[in-house]
């Protein structure tokens, strides 16, 4: 794997730090007029999701990490693992709940998502920004209500709970922004 020097640390670059794969978020050059130059770097640990700051001497280098985001189709959940497939190659990957994390709340069979692979093994799963899911549980709304009010909780097929307007009913399909967990609209067939 390639080696990257501090002046090549750009947002998005994947590197190995303390034996974990990490992504560079931000890299600030810090140098006193007279004195040592440093790079103060914000780094996301791709295994834990934690963000840390770390200072390097300018010119130090780190090994790159073999990390790629691959679009895959979500197939099914066997109770222990969720299974994903790359459309072009039919290659399949499995990931446990720890790796899937909150993304599991938005994964519907056959939907597409991004699986982050580190050395060809799943590291994290990211759902599409917008998903369309059916409501399986919610209080009956009052007729004539508009979307202006406070709303009510609704449970979706995947288990996620989102706030929806009062007029939305069980059995309806809604569009949700997975980044915020917010209701966007009803989906009309």
């Amino acid at each position: 794997m390639a080696v990257y020097s501090t002046n090549e640390f750009k947002a998005g670059l994947k590197i190995m730090l303390d034996n974990d794969p990490c992504a560079i978020i931000e890299n600030e050059f810090v140098k006193p007029g007279k004195g040592q130059a440093f790079n103060r770097v914000r780094i996301r640990n791709l295994k834990t999701g934690r963000v840390i700051e770390r200072t390097f001497k300018s010119g130090e280098s780190l090994e790159g990490a073999d990390v790629v985001d691959v679009e895959m189709q979500y197939l099914y959940n066997d109770g222990e693992y969720r299974h994903f497939m790359v459309q072009d190659t039919f290659e399949q990957y499995q990931a446990d709940a720890k790796i899937v994390g909150d993304a599991g709340l938005w994964l519907k069979d056959q939907d597409f998502c991004f699986v982050t692979l580190w050395n060809d093994a799943p590291l994290a799963v990211t759902p599409s920004n917008f998903v369309e899911l059916e409501i399986v549980e919610t209080d009956p709304g009052v007729r004539g209500d508009t979307s202006g009010g406070g709303g009510k909780p609704a449970k979706l097929t995947t288990g996620a709970v989102v706030r929806v307007p009062l007029f939305v009913q069980i059995g309806e399909v809604i569009k949700v922004d997975t980044r915020t967990g917010e209701y966007i609209s009803r989906v009309k067939d």
């Binding site: 600030e28 050059f29 810090v30 140098k31 040592q36 440093f38 200072t55 390097f56 300018s58």
Partner: protein, 326 residues
């Protein structure tokens, strides 16, 4: 169509720069300080291992010579002082290779001035006067003066003048900089650079100019030792809103001491496999001939403009064309 033909900064920023230059020239004109120009290309350059230079080739057959873009006009200006120029100032470009970032551009504008007969105290008073003019409409608090030791202790609890490895390590681990332990090791100078730039500087000058003086002797650069304390030197740095704006000295006039510092830095360059430079023998000759007692300081004008703008967050917003579109 590509968009990088456009300037990095706004027209308002261009106007602010023009006004700043006028204000500075008026300030020094009123004080009878002579404006000078010195070469950007020189046959020597600074030996500081922390400064990387640009070099180029001068062809004038049969002569082939390496010339260096100056990292600071200091040496040439000191030669003018030794030749009897009296107090002088210069507004010009300086070049430092590899320095690019939010507060750095490899080519930048410096204001550098030397006052014959001034002490460091006199110089700090003049800096305060200049800032009062330049920042007149910004409602700043009066300038503050702190010794390096006091300001370092206030922010870290550590003694900057006496290196205590255990104390420094404990502080770093407890304050989110555990990597400093391995990075700095037993190198006091490196510890000071790292802790000062991460834990002290960001908090300096929030309401106005902050002048930090009496630097530790290990960070002496071209400053004279303090007469009252062998652990410190007569050096001052300027900070405002966490940004380093300038660096000044009660200038070293001793040619022998200067030669020793050159040799030490040349040796450090060899040890670190950095490009070799030779000592500036013309500067040494000028010092031997006699540099008058003087105090001098350099200020980064692009950073001053950054602070004057009030809204800019990066140096590029003050430059017509930052290095990425120069």
């Amino acid at each position: 169509m590509q968009a990088d033909w456009q300037p990095s900064c706004s027209v308002a920023a261009l106007q602010r720069r023009a006004r700043l230059l006028q204000d500075i020239r008026a300030f020094f004109h009123a004080r009878a300080v002579l404006e000078v120009e010195t070469p950007l290309l020189g046959h020597c350059t600074g030996t500081d291992p922390q400064l990387a230079f640009f070099s180029t080739n001068y062809h004038s057959p049969p002569l082939r010579q390496t010339l260096y873009l100056q990292t600071s006009p200091e040496f040439a200006m000191k030669r003018l002082l030794a030749a009897g120029s009296g107090s002088i100032y210069q507004i010009g470009k300086a070049f430092r290779n590899g320095e690019a970032g939010r507060f750095h551009n490899p080519e930048f504008t410096l204001l550098e001035w030397y006052r014959v007969g001034f002490t460091l105290d006199d110089l700090m008073a003049e800096v305060a006067d200049l800032f009062a003019v330049l920042f007149a409409d910004q409602g700043l608090q009066p300038p503050q003066r702190h010794s390096y030791q006091a300001v370092f202790r206030a922010h870290t609890g550590l003694d900057a003048l006496q290196f205590n490895s255990a104390d420094y390590c404990a502080y770093a681990v407890a304050n989110g900089l555990p990597e400093a332990v391995a990075l700095c090791g037993e190198d006091h100078v490196l510890w000071l650079d790292m802790l000062f730039s991460h834990k002290v500087q960001p908090f300096l000058g929030a309401q106005g100019l902050c002048m930090v003086y009496a630097y530790p002797a290990c960070q002496s650069s071209l400053a004279r030792p303090s007469p009252d304390n062998p652990l410190t030197v007569e050096r001052v740095e300027l900070f405002m809103r966490g940004v380093e704006l300038g660096n000044g000295y009660y200038e070293l006039t001793d040619a022998d001491e200067q030669a020793r510092r050159f040799n030490k830095e040349i040796q450090q360059r060899q040890e670190q496999n950095l490009p070799a430079v030779i000592e500036d023998s013309r500067l040494l000759a000028a010092l031997a001939a006699g540099l008058p007692d003087c105090a001098g300081i350099a200020m980064g004008l692009d950073r001053v403009l950054l602070l004057l703008s009030g809204t800019a967050t990066a140096l590029s917003e003050t430059l017509s064309f930052a290095v990425d579109r120069a």
